[in-house]
């Protein structure tokens, strides 16, 4: 009886997930194995030619590049966000709220806005390079974008607020007496940070790392605006195929590959790190 009631409460959310997630995904899956047709663009069939097209070095290299880039972004944004969030939890409640509101406000900036702002920031005429010139570190101003570094910088910028917000609950709940205990046992502040703070909050670090990875894997504007074609990620290629080449089946196939890629990363990470939990 109680069991039935519990299942009934799941109905609305199941319908939502079904309608807005499962059905579109099924359509993508169907399209990805469709076959070209003369009368219309494609008809539903079971044809793996789009996956065969993916299985060339160009696309595999793109997939590996995307995964590597996003992993690097996840690591860099955690390296910035973790110490910051750790210090933030030591502030008074008013300072904490101010910072959190500021960081939340950052999330309201769209990827487009961020991409073009960085483009200006890295440009020859108005960019950071001019500061280098003032300090005499460069002969004359130069453009820093498009480049891999520009893509990386803008995506890390995009990911840091998310990392902070994902890490904040775990770090603010961290029992401060654990840190004090480690200190009384002879741990210097740095040592305590590495032997207590990081291990205790490891689950939160891993889950926010995975979230950032998946999040940046879907970024399409930044790589286009700030990168050269060789810096484009799989998501950009999907957009390219779907919007500019009108090749929905191949775009769908790439989307399926991207999904498998991120799902296997999530699976691998949870498998590897969940092993020694009590």
């Amino acid at each position: 009886m109680g069991g039935l009631a519990r299942y009934l409460t799941l109905v609305p959310s199941s319908v939502m997930i079904g309608a807005f997630f499962a059905v579109p995904f099924a359509l993508i899956l169907l399209t990805s194995v469709s076959t070209p047709d003369d009368a219309q663009d494609y008809i539903y069939a079971f044809d793996l030619q789009h996956f065969e097209r993916f299985a060339t070095w160009f696309y595999i290299e793109r997939a590996l590049f995307s995964a590597g880039l996003c992993a690097l972004i996840a690591v860099l944004s955690l390296l910035i966000a973790f110490p910051f969030t750790y210090m933030l939890t030591g502030f008074g409640p008013r300072a904490q709220n101010t910072w959190l509101i500021y960081i939340l406000a950052q999330l309201s900036l769209s990827e487009v806005l961020i991409a073009f702002s960085w483009q200006i920031l890295l440009s020859r005429t108005a960019g950071l390079a001019n500061i280098l010139v003032w300090f005499g570190l460069a002969e004359k101003s130069f453009s820093m974008a498009p480049s891999a570094g520009a893509v990386l910088a803008a995506l890390v910028y995009l990911a840091v607020p998310f990392s902070v917000l994902l890490l904040f609950p775990a770090l603010s709940r961290l029992d401060k007496s654990l840190i004090e205990a480690a200190r009384t046992l002879g741990g210097s502040p740095l040592r305590t940070f590495f032997t207590v703070v990081i291990p205790v909050t490891r689950p939160a670090i891993i889950s926010s790392g995975v979230t950032i990875f998946v999040l940046t894997l879907g970024a399409i504007i930044v790589p286009q605006v700030l990168g050269r074609p060789q810096h484009w990620t799989l998501s950009v290629l999907i957009t390219d195929q779907a919007i500019f080449n009108f090749n929905m089946p191949f775009a769908s196939a790439l989307a399926v590959v991207l999904l498998v890629l991120s799902a296997s990363v999530i699976f691998a990470v949870t498998k590897l790190t969940g092993g020694n939990k009590s």
Binding site: L178, E180, A182, T184, L185, G186, T195, V196, R202, S278
Partner: protein, 349 residues
């Protein structure tokens, strides 16, 4: 030697005065309890000894060495936290040897020390358990073992019994006291529980409103509290308003009594409180040379002791007697409450 000296220590948090001008001195190997209600500054004082808070003024020295500006991790103290603060990501053995491993002790030394400490805490063979698998009492033992791993010169405990249930608490108080005596380690315990302080301490420091109110052995504090606050905090007491009539006499409830304790602090004519402890006053049918008249309002016989509640000129007086002193009284009877000279002490009102 590891005498602990606290000299003129104050701690202010903004405009809040948590600890105000505290000067204390403890001998090596003593067990000291900081006793007081919550918010009296006792934990802040302990945290300053640990180095977790820096004093606003004053100094703390241990065995002649000034610790005031020494960072926590270089003080060589052992501390047990109220929440125990065991590391959830480490096993019991790894928790205990954390301090040793930081100093680069070998794996075999660590294992041997962990075993030795767990045997001492009567928890053998739990080295490989997770902290989450331990009960509250076991966690406390592990926290004590961890704090003692490097044989610190000072052992600090912040409300160590508050996370335990009542039965376990009493057993642990005795066990902790025995352990401390065995190791001869200078120990400071913070508590708000007077029984705990009476059970364990060589010296009790009673604190209130950020200051030290009284320092002494449990018996000194019990017998001769300096004021009403301390008297009320340690044990139960009978308080009767009185007026000093001579060097060692007071007038109360229409009679004159001789007072044996604490009289030199007051002069004739002062308004004072006459304090007695319930187990030191007796009830009888005839007046004695130091007694006040009263009326029995309630009798509670709980076997080992009999509690008699009396009304003496509108003030409640309690007498706790053993059955052999039972005066055979009934509720409503007019009796005389014998307050022997030595049992009477006077406090400022």
């Amino acid at each position: 030697m590891s005498d602990l000296n606290i000299d003129g220590v104050s701690k202010h948090f903004g405009s809040v005065r948590a600890v105000e001008d505290v000067t204390l001195s403890f001998k090596s190997g003593e067990m000291v309890c900081f006793l007081g209600p919550s918010g009296c500054g006792k934990t802040t004082l302990l945290r300053m000894i640990a180095g977790l808070e820096e004093p606003t003024a004053g100094s703390i020295t241990l065995g002649g060495k000034d610790l005031t500006r020494v960072p926590v991790h270089e003080r060589g103290i052992g501390m047990v936290f109220q929440s125990f603060a065991l590391f959830p990501h480490l096993s019991v053995g790894e928790n205990i040897t954390y301090a040793m491993r930081i100093r680069g002790a070998s794996r075999s030394d660590c294992a041997a020390r962990a075993k030795e400490l767990l045997d001492m805490m009567r928890l053998p063979g739990v080295e490989d358990r997770r902290i989450s698998q331990l009960s509250g009492g076991q966690r406390q033992r592990v926290a004590i073992a961890r704090a003692l791993a490097l044989s610190p010169s000072v052992f600090l405990l912040d409300e160590p019994m508050s996370a335990l249930d009542a039965n376990l608490r009493e057993a642990m108080q005795i066990e902790l006291r025995k352990l401390q005596q065995e190791l001869g380690i200078t120990t400071v315990v913070v508590t708000h529980d007077q029984t705990e302080a009476m059970t364990m301490a060589d010296q009790i420091v009673v604190m209130g409103r950020a200051r030290v109110l009284q320092t002494g052995t449990p018996m000194e504090i019990y017998k001769t509290p300096v004021d009403r606050f301390v008297a009320g905090f340690i044990g139960t007491s009978n308080l009767l308003p009185a007026r000093m009539t001579g060097a060692d006499t007071v007038e109360t409830c229409g009679v004159t009594l001789r007072v044996g304790t604490n009289v030199d602090r007051h002069k004739p004519g002062d308004e004072v409180l006459l304090m007695t402890r319930p187990e030191e006053v007796f009830v009888g049918h005839k007046p004695t040379k130091n007694s006040v008249p009263g009326r029995v309002t309630f009798v509670r016989d709980i076997g080992a002791t009999i509690e008699i509640l009396l009304d003496c000129a509108g003030h409640e007086v309690v007498s706790v007697l053993t059955p052999k002193d039972w005066p055979e009284v009934e509720i409503g009877q007019q009796v005389h409450v014998d307050m022997p000279e030595a049992a009477c002490s006077v406090l400022a009102p």
